[in-house]
């Protein structure tokens, strides 16, 4: 192998194919085997969602390849606006809730984090490094640990808000059971990772550019709007993917902060609940789950080209 490579080396180097000198076929076979293994579970869900109810409980989904009975009835059922197996209006209201929760919960933290990241990278002051490491460290605070104090803060009435002894630091905000009561915690929890990733990216922007702008008399606000924001699009897009997937798929935060308010439950929570109550309705559960999966996938594929570029700037050279 190596002798053969030696003679071919210059030509291959030209094609930038030095790393593909060996085992290309074996690599393909291994990767595709894993890719197929990785896809089988999801395919099972996809296939099941198009099978009639009677078939689902009688045979495994692979029976589809022998007896291809397919139907759209499950999807028609979950999207009908009449009562579906105990749920008024089908699952559509929950899809709306998911969007209403997710979109602001992506926009708010990214905006606030980009601002903070710019400040920590380019408007340095005494203690700014300490603040940066402090925020970075907060990434590891388990969310579970913050739920009770935040619930108290969002309630209203006796003992709500934040106190030290009898001193009230912040009064109760009265946003429990409202959309704002979910946007705020998602924003808080997203900030450490968002600031860290955006800081890596923004700190690697060319220094000359910033200095030139300041020499021209631009304020930090102008620099931020005209230079930092447009150049940070890859990092912002990468974090958008992350945050969108995280909020859309979150169970814990929504479970805690919707406070059982039926009108604002996102689809993922409803699915978790339905897995119990719809235990015998696999046709409805699988089609709903597939819809739930489809949305973040669409977001990922739409922004995919930014993903790696935005995440890795500054950390992999």
């Amino acid at each position: 192998m190596s002798i053969l490579n030696r003679s071919k080396a210059p030509k291959l180097a030209e094609q930038n194919a030095g790393r593909k000198l060996f085992g290309s076929r074996g690599a393909s076979i291994t990767v595709w085997t894993l890719a197929i293994l990785w896809t089988i579970p999801t395919f099972g869900l996809f296939a099941t969602s198009f099978r009639p109810k009677a078939d689902i409980s009688a045979t495994g989904w692979w029976d589809l390849f022998i007896h291809p009975h397919l139907t759209f009835a499950n999807y028609t059922a979950i999207f009908s606006t009449s009562t579906v197996s105990g749920i008024p209006n089908g699952i559509f209201p929950y899809i709306i809730n998911s969007f209403v929760i997710t979109i602001p919960a992506v926009i708010f933290p990214i905006t606030i984090a980009t601002m903070a990241a710019y400040c920590l990278a380019w408007v340095k002051f005494r203690g700014s490094d300490l603040i940066f490491y402090g925020i970075f460290a907060l990434q590891i605070v388990p969310i579970q640990l913050t739920l009770v104090p935040l619930l108290n803060l969002f309630r209203t009435g006796a003992d709500s808000g934040a106190h030290i002894g009898s001193l009230t630091l912040i009064p109760g905000l009265n946003i429990a059971g409202k959309f704002a009561g979910i946007w705020v915690p998602h924003t808080m929890f997203a900030l450490p990772l968002a600031i860290y990733l955006l800081h890596n990216f923004i700190a690697s922007l060319p220094r000359d550019l910033m200095e030139a702008a300041h020499v021209d008399g631009a304020s930090h606000f102008t620099v931020f709007r005209r230079i930092v924001l447009p150049l940070s699009v890859p990092a912002i897009a990468a974090f958008t993917i992350f945050q969108f997937m995280w909020v859309w798929n979150d169970l814990l935060v929504a479970l805690t902060f919707t406070g059982g308010t039926e009108g604002i439950d996102p689809l993922n929570n409803k699915l978790a609940g339905l897995a119990g109550t719809w235990g015998s309705h696999w046709e409805l559960l699988t089609s709903s789950a597939f819809i739930q999966i489809l949305v973040p996938l669409a977001v990922f594929f739409a922004l995919q080209r930014y993903f790696v570029r935005g995440l890795l700037a500054g950390s992999v050279k």
Binding site: A27, V31, I40, T59, G60, T111, Y133, R225, L251
Partner: protein, 326 residues
């Protein structure tokens, strides 16, 4: 139909209004603060840019973390001090020891397996000409919620009694191989490992994507020079590729350790933590919100936090080194 829209349109209205107000407030602040000049410009800029983020992390993360530390030394209703008894209970109670054992299993196996398969894929992908479809397929589970994943895997792990049709894939395979399948998710300690498979399946794509980018960043001439020296296959990987991506490998590994420790949804959605599958993060939720023992829940949170600290310290040391170079 009309009631349907009258129910849902206001929600969308709320969302649009909230975003509009948020952006309008920012625009006004930027406009006003931007007019400041002279000596005041810098402090005002720092306040406007950093203030909101700092306020939110202090109220949302730092404050609650300190409060939890205090609660962990108090009783179930947080009225009196109990010293270390919550911690003592956590490390001695027989059912909690199973929870701790499971948590240790999770930390020992899942991060290294996930990152390892991710690295293997990244190396192999680098040798392929067309990779995008396979890569997307392996990444796909990453976009699926753990609730969705537990429904997906139900069709793999589903179990039926002997006289019923087996509609779960693993049960069916076992049946065709001629033996009666066990009730997978009820069999201890097998069930904990089966739940780990779901995690590995879900997170491998992330490890792969990041490591694949790191391998692509290794200069082609380094690889070629080593290949000319006769390094190939395992030797090339061990001598050249791995050392070049080691720091990324460790970052991904650390991320996996943290998400393993925080793991909640898979256990919650598939077994609810029953049948000996519970882990610390799930138990903490049950203790606080189902059994209403704030003290014990808080003690678990603190133990979890202590477990992550080594990862954090390592990351910060690394980060400082990188910033020193940059």
């Amino acid at each position: 139909m009309s009631s349907f829209w009258s129910d849902n349109l206001p929600k969308l209205g709320q969302m649009v209004t909230a975003i509009a107000i948020f952006l309008a407030v920012l625009a006004v602040i930027f406009f006003i603060a931007g007019r400041a000049n002279g000596k005041k410009q810098r402090p005002i800029a720092i306040l406007v840019f950093l203030g909101p983020a700092l306020l939110l992390v202090v109220v949302g993360l730092l404050g609650p973390a300190i409060r939890t530390l205090i609660l962990s030394f108090k009783g179930s209703a947080s009225h009196h001090w109990v010293g270390f008894s919550n911690y003592h209970w956590l490390f001695t109670d027989p059912s909690e020891r199973i929870v701790l054992r499971n948590t240790v299993f999770w930390i020992l196996f899942t991060p290294i397996i996930t990152t390892g398969i991710g690295l293997l894929l990244a190396v192999l992908l680098d040798r392929m000409r067309r990779e995008s479809v396979a890569k997307s397929l392996i990444f796909m589970p990453m976009a699926i919620s753990f609730v969705g994943a537990s429904i997906v895997w139900e069709f793999i792990y589903k179990f039926a009694n002997a006289n019923q049709p087996q509609v779960g894939l693993m049960s069916s395979i076992a049946h065709h191989l001629g033996f009666q399948p066990p009730n997978w998710l009820l069999t201890q300690p097998l069930n904990t490992f089966l739940l780990m498979v779901v995690f590995v399946w879900s997170q491998t794509g992330f490890a792969m994507v990041i490591l694949s980018a790191a391998i692509k960043a290794v200069p082609a001439d380094v690889m070629e020079a080593s290949a000319l020296d006769g390094a190939h296959g395992w030797k090339l990987f061990r001598g050249v590729t791995f050392p070049m991506v080691r720091s990324t490998f460790i970052v991904v590994l650390a991320t996996m350790v943290v998400s393993t420790l925080k793991l909640f949804d898979i256990v919650r959605a598939s077994t609810g933590g029953n049948f000996g599958t519970s882990v610390l993060a799930n138990e903490m939720y049950s203790e606080t919100f189902i059994r209403y023992d704030a003290g014990r829940g808080a003690a678990m949170a603190i133990v979890l936090f202590l477990l992550v600290i080594p990862v954090l310290v390592y990351n910060i040391i690394n980060l400082r080194r990188e910033r020193a170079i940059a």
